[in-house]
Amino acid sequence: MAKIIGGLTSSHIPAVGNAIEQGLTQEPYWKRFFDGYAPAKAWLAENQPDVVIVVYNDHGLNFFLDKVPTFAIGCADRYENADEGWGLKPVAPFTGDAELSWHIAESLVEQEFDICTCQEIKVDHGFVNPLRALWGTSDPWPIKTIPLAVNTVQHPVPSAKRCLQLGHALGRAIESYPEDLKVVVLGTGGMSHQLQGERAGIINVEFDLDCMEKIINEPQWLTQFSNDEIMAQAGTEGIETIMWLVMRGALQPQVKLVHKHYHVPISNTGAGLLVLDNQ
């Protein structure tokens, strides 16, 4: 049977990809941020997962406003990265696992999650950058990937509670898959930031650290807040942190913290990295 061996979180902002591309990871601005990924890389190298479920939001590459699904899952054997309008060279395509994807989709619909199935997805920086930071940019990629997209852009956005529940259902879906596979779930995005309005540039270190602490073994803490309250605390784009709950919900109630890293600022954001061992 498939087994979820762990969960991770990572920032996914465009600047992370640029810094990797331009070889800036040891520059003063970036050094502490990227050095903090080394223990996560070591854990992955040691545990050798076969598949990573990447919980991310699309920022206007694959999904336009004509069709904004609350939750969407990739059901393909291959996912392409593509130019998001800034002329960046796409990274190598990713290998999926369509059978596992369809199994998850069927299980989620049975568990009353109204998922959107996607037999083709162009994955954007929200998906690509955490993989580059955690596995290193490579061609081919050393792990199979399944995109799980959460709408955090076009309100109404799902609640923290619904995201945690999706995670519970995702965990049941994965662990009912008959093939022996080691799976990790990666929650991307966040933490606090706001890109637009006179309030642009806010970062709330205290709230970010509360989120990091609570998500480890008390994730329901975040579900007490409405999205209004989360945005008031963490900024409009800081709502992305709800995606971490999808990851966390897929794990057991109590997990072992392997690694905890927080840095600020990265571009406009607080950046948090967690490695949670589910074994």
Binding site: R32, D35, G36, P39, H59, G60, L61, F64, L65, A82, D83, E84, G85, W86, G87, V153, Q154, H155, P156, Q194, L195, Q196, G197, E198, R199, A200, G201, I203, V205, L209, E213, S226, N227, D228, E229, M231, A232, T236, E237, L257, H259, K260, H261, Y262, H263, V264, P265, S267, N268, G270
Partner: protein, 133 residues
């Protein structure tokens, strides 16, 4: 006709991208989304007026696009992620837009961000268990 009120409307300096904002700005966002495509970017550079017409971008929306008024576009409901597809290739970053919203320079905006990291290590030490290199 009744747009619903939300608690997030009371967060100062904040424009939540909901139906109320997205609905009137659909055409401009569709134009911006199309700029994912390099061929479309060329067509837009070549004849921005014709490009606006093709997407039904009219009136104040059209004026904001043709005059590179990114702040105006945001205020009119352009989504920040879609806007970046036009602004970034023209040398205007998301941080430039944030600074403009506050009426400060990008350097000052960036200095303010860097200040959020002041004292971070001691805060993390107090919390305990964080990586420090």
């Amino acid at each position: 006709m009744a747009w619903q009120q939300h608690p997030y409307n009371d967060i100062p300096g904040t424009y939540v991208f909901d139906g109320r904002r997205a609905h009137p700005s659909y055409a401009i966002n569709k134009l911006l989304f199309s700029l994912n495509d390099a061929e479309n970017r060329t067509a837009f550079e070549t004849d921005a007026e014709a490009y606006c017409q093709r997407f039904g971008v009219e009136g104040v929306y059209r004026e904001a696009v043709l005059s590179n008024d990114f702040l105006g576009m945001l205020r009119l409901g352009a989504n920040i992620y879609y806007l970046a597809k036009m602004a970034v290739p023209r040398g205007v970053s998301v941080q430039d837009a944030g600074a403009a919203f506050q009426g400060i320079s990008t350097e000052e905006f960036q200095r303010n961000l860097l200040q959020k990291g002041q004292g971070l290590e001691s805060i993390l030490e107090a919390k305990g268990g964080y990586w420090h290199g």
